[in-house]
Symmetry: C2
Subunit: 496 residues, 2 copies
Amino acid sequence: MIVETSKENMEIRIQRATEAYQFLKNTTIKERAAFMNAVADQIEALGEELLTTAHAETSLPLARLTGEKARTTGQWRAYAKAVASGIYGEPRIDLSKADKQKGDLRKYNIGIGPVVVFGASNFPFAFSTAGGDTASAIGAGCPVIVKAHPAHPQTSQIMADAITAVVEQFGWPEGVFSHITGVSHEIGTYLTQHKDILAVAFTGSFGGGKALFDIANRRENPIPVFAEMGSINPVFAFEHILENKAEELAKEYASSLTLGVGQFCTNPGVFVALKGENLTRFIAALKNEIQEINPVNMLHKGIFENFEKLKSIAAVQPGVEVIAEATTEVNQWEGRAMVTETTAQYFIQNSILSEEVFGPFGIIVACETPEEILQIAQALKGQLTITVAATDEDVRLNIKLIDILKDKCGRLLFNGMPTGVEVVYAMQHGGPFPSTTDSRFTSVGPDAVKRFVRPISFQNWPDEFLPEELKDENPLQIRRIVDGEVNSGSLKLQTT
Amino acid sequence: MIVETSKENMEIRIQRATEAYQFLKNTTIKERAAFMNAVADQIEALGEELLTTAHAETSLPLARLTGEKARTTGQWRAYAKAVASGIYGEPRIDLSKADKQKGDLRKYNIGIGPVVVFGASNFPFAFSTAGGDTASAIGAGCPVIVKAHPAHPQTSQIMADAITAVVEQFGWPEGVFSHITGVSHEIGTYLTQHKDILAVAFTGSFGGGKALFDIANRRENPIPVFAEMGSINPVFAFEHILENKAEELAKEYASSLTLGVGQFCTNPGVFVALKGENLTRFIAALKNEIQEINPVNMLHKGIFENFEKLKSIAAVQPGVEVIAEATTEVNQWEGRAMVTETTAQYFIQNSILSEEVFGPFGIIVACETPEEILQIAQALKGQLTITVAATDEDVRLNIKLIDILKDKCGRLLFNGMPTGVEVVYAMQHGGPFPSTTDSRFTSVGPDAVKRFVRPISFQNWPDEFLPEELKDENPLQIRRIVDGEVNSGSLKLQTT
């Protein structure tokens, strides 16, 4: 049913992307922003077919998909606005002066080149074909080749058609956006190895992301791969908060753990706290919550089977006890929530327990001492998020621990739960390895554009040949750093 | 004579760096800037011993070393000023609002963790122990472990002592800066493989940089390596400019090619132009220039021997003719300039001719047609710099070619010569692979700091526990993006 794009066809797409890059490089930020807003309009105008197709392919509820569609158009518009502001061009101008040998230097960021995007199955709109990676790459001035996720091929095609329609509407080269389909890993390998592909964005499993990262680094010309590979998103709950609201916390945690059948990369898979009466209250309340949740279908059979497999492996590890489980019969691909309990020492010593179980699965780590909590923090691998459930007093008593948690994540929450990733400037969706391949970047929020730009300096060029961002008169009216100071004006007035 | 730092000793230094990171992470940008300015003062105060030691170890003239010392202190001060301005913290705040589920999100950049710096032999001050990599890493909030370059061990020790004196003066943990010595490659491998080292900066050969890059990417937790590995920095000279000033251009080119015995990573090793009368004039003038240049000693025996070897290999390649050569006898390690000529087809087909010959060695590529010039541009690997020697009219006639050159370099010059890398915001010293391992960063100019920071978001944290950069009242009085708009004020006034 899914057509395997042939190598000949891929070569054509890559060649077109390379040509389109020469075009995109010379578009202005305003032109790219207009394009991105038009894509948002186009997606917004897609009728019921998009939602019903995605629902059929992913089992995600229509309400959720409606929300995700709005999020997706919102991303295109937010990134368009940010790109148009000039923030990602980072223009810097050092004017010719008598005391400088090298004369006039002007730098700004250009798109890095053709980008391959591998979308995720769990966000068929927002993290897939027309998702944040595609929007941020085009915003940067990079043509995009999407490898469609095989779990939602029709949805992917509808989104690809929408983008292609805008490419045609704008009269842009068709290579600005290409859609490649197939189920074999060879396609991804071929694209990532190709000398003319200059960056890769990926959202998915550790195995998939790490494989692409390795391929990219072994090329004759290595290229950046931003792979977001998930996380166990620990919650560290402290004494006073547990004492104050163990039951409320159990409700919040259960809700976050099972939201969307646990199919979020920010799902809080681990809950760390001191053993004792308050944790006992939390666990008792959690049991009730988990048992009350009705299982629903997961995204597809593969994800369901993987969840069942990993859940059952984790549940039988030494020192692990199942404390709450949905007791309903399995229907089709229903993901039944499970919560287990273990001790700090079992948790630290068994790396299986630190691996992501994609779905509604949690581990409560009951620690004997505060020192054990610190040991867990120190042993943690990189995470997308860490949550500190605490009162102000708890924070004051655990400053050293919290400082270590900062080294282990991209987003640190004070209470609340990590599911839900807002698309704003201040969002960081990217943490130390293995949650992503490069903690210096984010894949959510307008700053996602930064992954796909690189700086170029122009030395002593006549104004006529400079990009708009760097011309004397500042025709784009953007904020630039001129001789070390922020300057939003024209240089013509200042230099004459 | 050079002590090999033992593994036990390295472990101690890494442990100290890890501890110092917890301290540095909590310093303010003002505190780090004060430290950096104090390092500049300390280096400035170093007496004749620094210059005479470096002169003895590198053969570099005292005048050059005096200039490089000023450049080095200038770097510390310029980076300090930039860090203190808050520009590299990139603070972004999205305030809690009724229409946002996730509440208050605040992001800024923190130091990535302990950094290992491998300095270069050709800049014993500015690109070595107390060079730009060390300054930018400390500016970012990262402890630094320098692996001293074995070609100037005493110079390295003097610089290390200067930094250490400032660490003591400030009462900072000793792990903020460590100095490791040795000649074996195992030391670099050990440091780069170590799980607690979180980034690497390198300036030197392709072989060295690529080896570290590969080691870093094969770790269980891969880390970023910024390696600046040199370049052949082509000059593309067009018809009108050659007609107007062939002789002047020859003088400029010869001077740049032989500056500092050609020991710059921006040395213009290739000169591309159309065959014909004007190129003949250029070559005639160049011969005279080259023959008049008196050879002087290269940095050390190894560099001299490598230069002699690579020069003689290049000179005997098919289709390569030696057209100018210093004819003096060889004394000690004197690097005698050589210029060769070849055709576009020989140049494109023989990859040896595109490899850097570190020293005063140039290849003139005489093209039969403009199409051949385009082919050379397309075949070029990534470069630190490319120079377009052209009139305005030449540029207008070659827009497509120049657009391709942009894809191949970090800095594009309009006339002038690429040697000389000014330390300003608008400098880009970093190009596509293989000139560096990541074209998205620079190793010269304050933006070098960006290599060593990563963003972290704080969600819903009380003001009391936020870093200074993100507190409501904006105590550092820095520019922040608040709800998508630039804002330099306090939020207290605005939210009450």
